[in-house]
């Protein structure tokens, strides 16, 4: 499989705090990676850098041939629109837009909007009857499914999910995880931050962080390059 993500000696400092300290690893296209570790270990910082939301202090973070560290503000904006699909723990839907408009918002910033396609994306996540509902009229699980539909609408190379089930009850957690399993089966590359070992085990590989270091990799196919 071709390498989609290549991280080389990545470092990120916030003042005197090193959130990431010399992290290196690779992810092949189509892999599902679980990034695990305690709070403050650098998981979200890594996801933010790979998603172009933050820039590293040093090192390389190459996604689909693009070194995120070298992109300027405009380049990062295009990178996020074209290559990344985000799923956040707190859903982060625009409260005054309906479900379908939240999905179309991602289309709007990517290129052109297609309401029918956005509706189909919502139908795919089981929200065909919630298209015109506002986020406040949806349950937490339904809101997260809208976020999944929004993440997928532009066919991103990489799906970055930061604790996607962290705010969900057991039933909704299962719905979202089955969606991720489907996406993985279809060949999508997923990097998922999670605290829960049971969810981490669903991934092809697990990368564990502690104090900004990659400390452990599990599963046969793992290809860590410890600094």
């Amino acid at each position: 499989m071709a390498t989609l993500v290549q991280v080389e000696n990545l470092r990120k400092e916030f003042g005197n705090v090193r959130a990431l300290d010399g992290v290196s690893f690779r992810v092949d296209a189509g892999e599902w990676i679980a990034i695990m570790g305690p709070s403050g270990s650098g998981k979200t910082t890594l996801i933010n850098i790979l998603g172009g939301l933050d820039t590293p202090t040093a090192g390389q973070a190459i996604v689909d041939g693009t070194d995120v560290a070298r992109l300027d503000e405009a380049g990062l904006t295009r990178f996020r629109a074209e290559k990344i699909g985000f799923i956040f723990q707190q859903f982060h839907l625009v409260p005054y837009l309906t479900a379908v408009e939240n999905v179309m918002l991602a289309q709007y910033f990517h290129s052109t909007t297609d309401e029918k396609e956005a509706q189909q994306a919502l139908e795919r996540v089981g929200l065909g009857d919630r298209i015109e509902h506002l986020p406040s009229q949806l349950s937490g699980g339904e809101q997260q499914r809208v976020a999944v539909a929004r993440a997928l609408i532009n066919h991103p190379k990489l799906i970055l999910a930061d604790e996607p089930t962290g705010n969900l009850d057991e039933a909704n957690e299962e719905i979202v995880l089955s969606l991720l399993r489907e996406l993985h089966a279809e060949g999508h590359t997923i990097l998922m931050v999670t605290h829960a070992p049971s969810i981490g085990r669903l991934a092809d590989r697990r990368i564990e962080f502690a104090h900004g270091h990659l400390v452990q990799a599990a599963a046969a196919s793992l290809k860590p390059e410890l600094a």
Partner: protein
């Protein structure tokens, strides 16, 4: 999708934007009312100047009133004095001239002001008068007269009606050639031949005033007035344009006051919008962080917000302008005693002003450009 998003943004923040639109509507209403008043009053004054027609008046010097048949009347002057003086001066500059003798006579037993004059000169002297019927072609024609519209209504007169005037123990008859709509006190008067009125009042060769319409610049009129004064030292020669110029100076001061008030209101409106937008920008930080994470460039995101603000300014401006036109109409009637009609040019001007002011008030939205999506999504 752009306008759909703008609409949803407006709907989503309707509470806070309601405060902004209230400020914009109020500001636009006052500005529109002031502009309508400014233009309307100016228009009214201009109309007044035009209907005034004559710009030089010759009258007896203020002194003791004359006695006629035992009754006290204003001072009079011999008609031939004035005519001789006029003949000595170049006539090319005088576009119209007419002597007047005013008396209060009775028609159908109702007291009415009768102006004896050269009826053929009225058309040139008072060009803005509207006339139903016909002008009188000769100033020697004593058989015809003109009546003001209020007199015609009160006495039930129509064009062609006979009219009999009584003064003490004398009377005169004429036929109504036309009904005058002057928009002033002339509507309450009857205009008859000077000779007929002089005969009626038993004041042959006497007049009360003479009016001249002299064409040219202020300097030309001033020169003509000076020469006329020299030719008629015993009478008062008064250029009406001086009054007009005084009115013009007053109008200038009113305009300065209105422009100052408009500027002040614009600044206050902008400050109010600024405060609302600063609060809105803080509220929108999370949305902007999210939009940036989805690949939204700051220009497209701020473009959405500016369009939202522009719509706010346009709608507020339109509502305010309509409200202001109604306010100006009401104020015109209550304060100036004349209806101020809405001026179409005030609409685009006020709306454009409100859009500009609202966009200026939206400066705090610039701070959204500094939003770091990672920090916002972390909840910082």
């Amino acid at each position: 999708m752009f306008w759909r998003l703008v609409f949803q943004l407006l709907r989503g923040s309707r509470g806070r934007l309601g405060v902004a639109i209230l400020a914009i509507v109020s500001g636009a209403a006052v500005i529109s009312a002031l502009l309508n008043l400014d233009l309307g009053v100016q228009n009214k004054l201009t109309q007044e100047f035009r209907t005034l027609g004559a710009n030089i008046v010759i009258s007896p010097a203020s002194g003791a009133p004359s006695q006629i048949s035992g009754a006290e009347v204003p001072s009079l002057m011999p008609e031939h004095d004035v005519l001789e003086a006029l003949q000595q001066l170049p006539s090319a500059q005088v576009s119209a001239a007419a002597p007047y003798l005013y008396i209060v006579a009775r028609a159908q037993n109702i007291r009415v002001v009768v102006a004896g004059t050269w009826l053929d000169q009225l058309r040139k002297l008072d060009a803005a008068w509207k006339l139903e019927g016909n002008w009188v072609a000769s100033h020697n024609d004593q058989s015809q007269c003109l009546v003001g519209r209020n007199v015609a209504r009160r006495l039930h007169l129509a064009v062609g009606s006979p009219l009999e005037l009584h003064y003490i123990d004398r009377s005169a008859q004429c036929s109504i050639a036309g009904i005058v709509d002057a928009g002033g006190t002339e509507d309450n008067q009857i205009f008859a031949s000077l000779r007929a009125v002089q005969a009626l009042a038993n004041l042959p060769g006497q007049i009360g005033v003479a009016q001249l319409s002299v064409t040219g610049t202020t300097q030309v009129i001033a020169d003509y007035t000076a020469r006329l004064t020299a030719a008629l030292p015993q009478y008062q020669v008064r250029p009406i344009r001086q009054v007009a110029e005084a009115e013009g100076a007053l109008l200038g001061r009113i305009r300065l006051l209105i422009v100052s008030m408009v500027l002040l209101i614009l600044i206050l409106t902008a400050l109010c919008v600024l405060g609302t937008m600063a609060a809105l920008a803080m509220e929108r930080r999370k949305d902007v962080g999210l939009m940036k994470s989805l690949g939204g460039s700051i220009s497209r995101i701020v473009g959405l917000f500016l369009a939202e603000v522009g719509v706010l300014g346009a709608v507020g401006g339109l509502l305010g302008t309509i409200l202001g036109a109604a306010l100006a109409y009401w104020m015109g009637l209550r304060v100036f005693g004349t209806a101020i009609s809405p001026r179409w040019e005030v609409f685009p001007a006020t709306i454009a002003l409100m859009i500009v002011v609202t966009l200026a008030g939206a400066l705090p939205l610039r701070m959204l450009g500094n939003v770091k999506p990672a920090e916002i999504l972390r909840g910082e």
